[in-house]
C-alpha cells in the first residue's frame, strides 16, 4: 500500500507518507524562511565593516545585556516545549501556564529589543544613518516581527484554551506553533553570534 513513514509517536495519518499535512506544510515553510533570513544575514555580512561613518557596532552594542535577552529567548523555547508536553499528558492547566510563560518570555525579549533600539537611536544610529544601521535594524526588526507574530499566536492558543478550545487531541495545533517558535529562536542564535559577537570582537573587522 502506501509507503508509510509514520512518526515514532505512533501517529499515522491517512496520507502517502503517514505524516500530517499541516506539519509537512510548517516544515516546508521553515525551510523557506531559512532562505528569507539567510538573505538578510548575507546582506548584513556583506556590508559589515563597510559603513563610511559611525556609529559602529562597537559604539552601541552591549553584549552583556543582549546575552540576557538571548538567554530569555532560549528559556522561552524550553517553556514552549514543556507546554506541549503538558498538553500531551492531558494537563491543560499546566499547558496554559507554560504557554503564557512562553508568550511572556517572548514579550520580555521584545521589550529588550525595544529598549536596545531606543538606546541605539539615542546614540545616533537609525535606519538611515549608515550601512550598519540599515542592515542591523532591518534584520533584527524583521526577526522581531516574526517574534511578535509568534507571541500573538501563542496568546491566541492560550486564550483559546480557556473555553476548552485546546484539548490533548488538538496537540498538533500547539506543535505547529511550537515549531515556529523554536525556529524564531534558532534564527536569533545565529543573529546573536554573527551580528553581535562577531560585530564587536576585536580583530575580526
Amino acid at each position: 500500500m502506501a509507503e508509510a513513514t509514520a512518526a515514532i509517536h505512533g501517529e499515522h495519518e491517512e496520507t502517502s507518507t503517514g505524516l500530517n499535512n499541516r506539519k509537512l506544510l510548517m516544515w516546508a515553510f521553515l525551510g523557506s524562511d531559512c532562505m528569507f533570513f539567510g538573505t538578510l544575514i548575507a546582506t548584513y555580512v556583506v556590508y559589515q565593516g563597510k559603513s563610511l561613518k559611525g556609529p559602529f557596532p562597537i559604539d552601541v552594542f552591549n553584549i552583556p545585556i543582549t546575552s540576557v535577552s538571548t538567554f530569555v529567548l532560549l528559556m522561552s523555547s524550553m517553556s514552549m516545549v514543556l507546554a506541549y508536553a503538558a498538553l500531551r499528558q492531558g494537563n491543560v492547566k499546566s499547558f496554559r501556564i507554560w504557554i503564557f510563560s512562553t508568550a511572556f518570555l517572548g514579550m520580555t525579549f521584545l521589550g529588550f529589543q525595544v529598549f536596545e533600539f531606543r538606546d541605539f537611536v539615542h546614540e545616533g544610529l537609525t535606519l538611515k544613518t549608515n550601512l550598519f544601521g540599515t542592515t542591523f535594524f532591518t534584520l533584527t526588526g524583521l526577526h522581531g516581527a516574526h517574534v511578535t507574530l509568534g507571541v500573538i499566536w501563542l496568546l491566541s492558543l492560550g486564550f483559546h484554551s480557556f473555553k476548552g478550545g485546546i484539548t490533548p487531541d488538538k496537540h498538533l495545533d500547539v506543535d505547529l506553533a511550537a515549531l515556529y517558535w523554536h525556529f524564531v529562536d534558532v534564527v536569533w542564535i545565529i543573529i546573536f553570534t554573527v551580528v553581535y559577537l562577531f560585530g564587536v570582537f576585536p580583530g575580526i573587522n
Binding site: 556583506v46 523555547s77 534558532v186
Partner: protein, 106 residues
C-alpha cells in the same frame, strides 16, 4: 523508515520516542552553558580571528540541540529533517557564494 535509535535516551518516557521534561530541562541547561561559554570566550581578546570557528561551532551546537530535541527532528520523519536541512544548506551555500563574490574571503 526504521525506528530511530534515539529511544534508549528516553528513560521514563510515557510514549516511546518522546523525550521527558527532564530531557528538555537538560537541553535547556546545555544551551545556557554554551551561551555562557560563548560570552566568556568573547572576552579572551587574544583569539583574534580564531574566535570565528569556535563561535560558529558553538552556535551550530545550540542550533542542532534546539532542532533535534525541541523541534523533535531526532524523533520524527527524515522528510522533515530533509526539508529543514535543505533550506539551511541552500541558505548557507548562497550566503557563502555571495560573500565570495564580494571578496569577503580575500
Amino acid at each position: 523508515m526504521a525506528q530511530e535509535s534515539g529511544t534508549e535516551a528516553q528513560g521514563a518516557a510515557v510514549h516511546s520516542g518522546h523525550p521527558t521534561p527532564f530531557t528538555y530541562f537538560k537541553v535547556a541547561m546545555t544551551l545556557s552553558i554554551i551561551t555562557a561559554v560563548e560570552v566568556g570566550i568573547f572576552y579572551i581578546e587574544d583569539l583574534g580571528k580564531g574566535i570565528i570557528p569556535i563561535l560558529v561551532v558553538l552556535s551550530a551546537a545550540k542550533f542542532a540541540l534546539v532542532a533535534m530535541f525541541y523541534m523533535h527532528l531526532r524523533y520524527d520523519s527524515r522528510i522533515f529533517t530533509g526539508m529543514f536541512v535543505g533550506g539551511i544548506a541552500l541558505a548557507i551555500s548562497v550566503t557563502l557564494a555571495i560573500l565570495g563574490l564580494f571578496q569577503f574571503f580575500v
